[in-house]
């Protein structure tokens, strides 16, 4: 089966890709069966395979780029024409409600609908008028608080005994500098980015100047209960889904 996942940016793709490989044993491959390739420098695509299943992870280039990505890549036509078994959208909550985010994502798609935190079975007609099913899932992170991928990562690192102490030191450090030295860090998104960036710089100083992609593989994410909880729906990819609706 073919699974398609749209996420916001490069770091989302890298974290999910690494998580799927290390926890769910998917393997990285160079090309995808859907033929999706990057059309600009902000997009990032990784392709995974597990048995006969293919997972295409697309970073659309930012929170505001879902609609343009879907338009440019003709995702709505692809849903009709290709055998995509399920389709997940992963997006940062920031300060939005589930309702508003669901409405925004649903406005982008023509024949399928999403619900936050829930698999939905969409019965649609293919190009030949034949019925087919596409399962959808809208994963909003963090699940129950404001924030973005960075806050998910911070919570995950706090869960991991080997990382917990360093994370607390970094948080204390950022707290110390934010008021007097870097007032910009009073904004929660900037604060979280600084915590994550500082953490990985200290944790792996040899890679301090590299991108998140270099950091992500240095952490044993499977030890994080919070990450396990939030990424639980990803475990359904490549498997038959039990959906009661």
């Amino acid at each position: 089966m073919i699974e398609l996942v749209l996420v916001e940016g490069v770091s989302d793709v890298q974290l999910i890709s690494y998580y799927m490989q290390s926890v769910y044993e998917w393997k990285h491959v160079n090309e995808n069966i859907l033929g999706i390739t990057v059309l600009d420098a902000h997009e990032h695509i990784e392709n995974l395979t597990k048995g006969d299943n293919e997972l295409v992870l697309c970073g659309v280039g930012g929170n505001s780029k879902f609609a343009s990505f879907v338009e440019k890549h003709r995702i709505n036509a692809m849903i009709i024409e290709k055998e995509i078994a399920s389709f997940m959208v992963v997006t940062d909550r920031d300060k939005e409600s589930n309702l508003k985010m669901t409405r925004r994502i649903n406005a982008v798609f023509e024949n399928i609908t999403f619900e936050a935190g829930k698999w939905v079975k969409n019965k649609i007609a293919d190009g030949y008028g034949q019925d087919k099913l596409v399962n959808t899932y809208l994963l909003i992170i963090p699940e129950n608080e404001n924030g973005a991928l960075e806050s998910v990562i911070i919570n995950a690192l706090k869960d991991i005994p080997e990382e917990k102490e360093l994370m607390q030191e970094v948080i204390d450090f950022i707290d110390n500098v934010k008021n007097d030295l870097v007032p910009e860090l009073c904004k929660i998104n900037k604060y979280n980015k600084a915590v994550v960036g500082t953490f990985f710089s200290v944790r792996n100083p040899e890679n301090a100047m590299r991108s998140f992609g270099a950091f992500v593989s240095k952490v044993e994410w499977l030890k994080s209960e919070s990450l396990k909880q939030i990424f639980m729906p990803l475990g359904c990819l490549g498997k038959e889904k039990t959906i009661n609706n």
Partner: protein
């Protein structure tokens, strides 16, 4: 003459029920082997066959164009009916909306078994052929099959009916084939047919044909008929050197181009069906040849149905749509993909169709691996 806007096919060959609408002037018919492309083109021809049994015979025989096997005629006729769907009934129906009104062709009947002698009496064989059977030069089977049925054809308000009888001894149906109202180009027809008959008598067509051929072979100066030593007329190409060469010595590409042009010139205000347009043509000539065909078809008011397996041919045809520049105009191209699907019960199959615009195919092929052929 009619162009068709839609077609509905019921119980014809492998097609249980198929409906395709919104045809354009250029319709590309694509699909895997055994997906029903040739059946689809035959169905369009049957709409125009009326009750002419000679035309019906020719359509039945089209599939064996290079290797006519007279003994298989009866089997070919009965294979027109979808016995998988209706084992006890031989009945198919094709209807269409055209700019001349409703077109309908229904063929129904039943099959039975008779003695060889009875079959001989019922058959459409000539007296000489019947005599050969009686003289035992051909073995008369003890039992033979017989089909008795009717063709009912409707064109606009006019409805006609014709009885059809055929036996397993027959090699055809009685009656001459009148001039067809719709023309068909088979994949390998360029190897058999007269290729110049509609070209050489018309100076404008001839100049156009010579100009196109000149892009394949720069030495071609003229095409004509020349008289052979035995008094027959040969299709001939005249080279710039003044040397005449029979067309038969030229390669498939030249013959295929002439075959298409010859039929196109004869299809004014009508429909031309081209099966496997790529056969005999190298892809490097598509960009040169196809725009000429489409411009000519537009000028002569010919509706085209082109079956192809070739993705290069599809891409070359789509170039005619000029989709990067023309966004709002009516799309001149439709792409009809036929696909055989197995029934959900696991018993039997049907043919289904996807009908999309050329622009839809062009845009999707640009950004993802849109498989138009399957």
């Amino acid at each position: 003459m009619a162009h068709i806007n839609s077609i509905e096919i019921k119980s014809y060959r492998g097609i249980k029920a198929l409906s395709v609408s919104d045809f354009s002037n250029i319709n590309i018919v694509v699909g895997d082997n055994n997906s029903g492309k040739t059946s689809f083109l035959e169905a369009i021809q049957l709409l125009f066959a009326g009750t002419q049994l000679g035309t019906l015979k020719n359509i039945i025989n089209q599939r064996t164009v290079l290797n006519p096997d007279k003994s298989s005629f009866y089997v070919s006729l009965t294979k027109m009916f979808n016995k998988e769907q209706r084992p006890d009934s031989m009945d198919f129906e094709i209807s269409a909306e055209s700019n001349s009104g409703i077109l309908q062709f229904r063929f129904m009947g039943r099959e039975g078994s008779v003695s060889g002698e009875e079959a001989l009496q019922m058959s459409a064989l000539s007296q000489r052929e019947k005599m050969q059977y009686k003289r035992n030069s051909i073995i008369l089977p003890e039992k033979a099959k017989v089909f008795i049925g009717n063709v009912v054809a409707q064109t606009g308000e006019e409805i006609s009916q014709q009885e059809v009888r055929s036996t397993s001894l027959d090699s055809g149906l009685p009656g001459a084939s009148l001039k067809k109202e719709i023309l068909y180009i088979s994949a390998f027809g360029h190897l058999r047919y007269d290729l110049l008959q509609n070209i050489v008598g018309n100076p404008e067509y001839k100049k156009l044909a010579v100009d196109i051929l000149g892009q394949f072979e720069t030495e071609i100066e003229d095409i004509c008929y020349t008289k052979a030593d035995d008094g027959s007329y040969l299709e001939t190409i005249v080279a710039t050197s003044g040397i005449n060469m029979p067309l038969s010595v030229y390669g498939d590409g030249i013959k295929k181009i002439l075959y298409i042009l010859n039929k196109l010139f004869d299809s004014a205000d009508s429909i031309l069906l081209i099966d496997e347009i790529e056969t005999g043509l190298h892809k490097k000539y598509y960009d040169m040849l196809f725009p000429v065909i489409f411009a000519l078809a537009s000028k002569l008011n010919v509706q085209l149905f082109i079956a192809t397996h070739s993705i290069e041919a599809i891409d070359a045809i789509l170039k005619y749509g000029d989709y990067d520049n023309k966004k709002e105009e009516k799309d001149p191209i439709k792409v009809i993909t036929l696909k055989k699907i197995e029934s959900k019960t696991g018993k039997g199959s049907n043919i289904v169709a996807r009908n999309v615009t050329g622009n839809y195919v062009y845009e999707n092929r640009k950004v993802f691996e849109y498989e138009v052929r399957l």
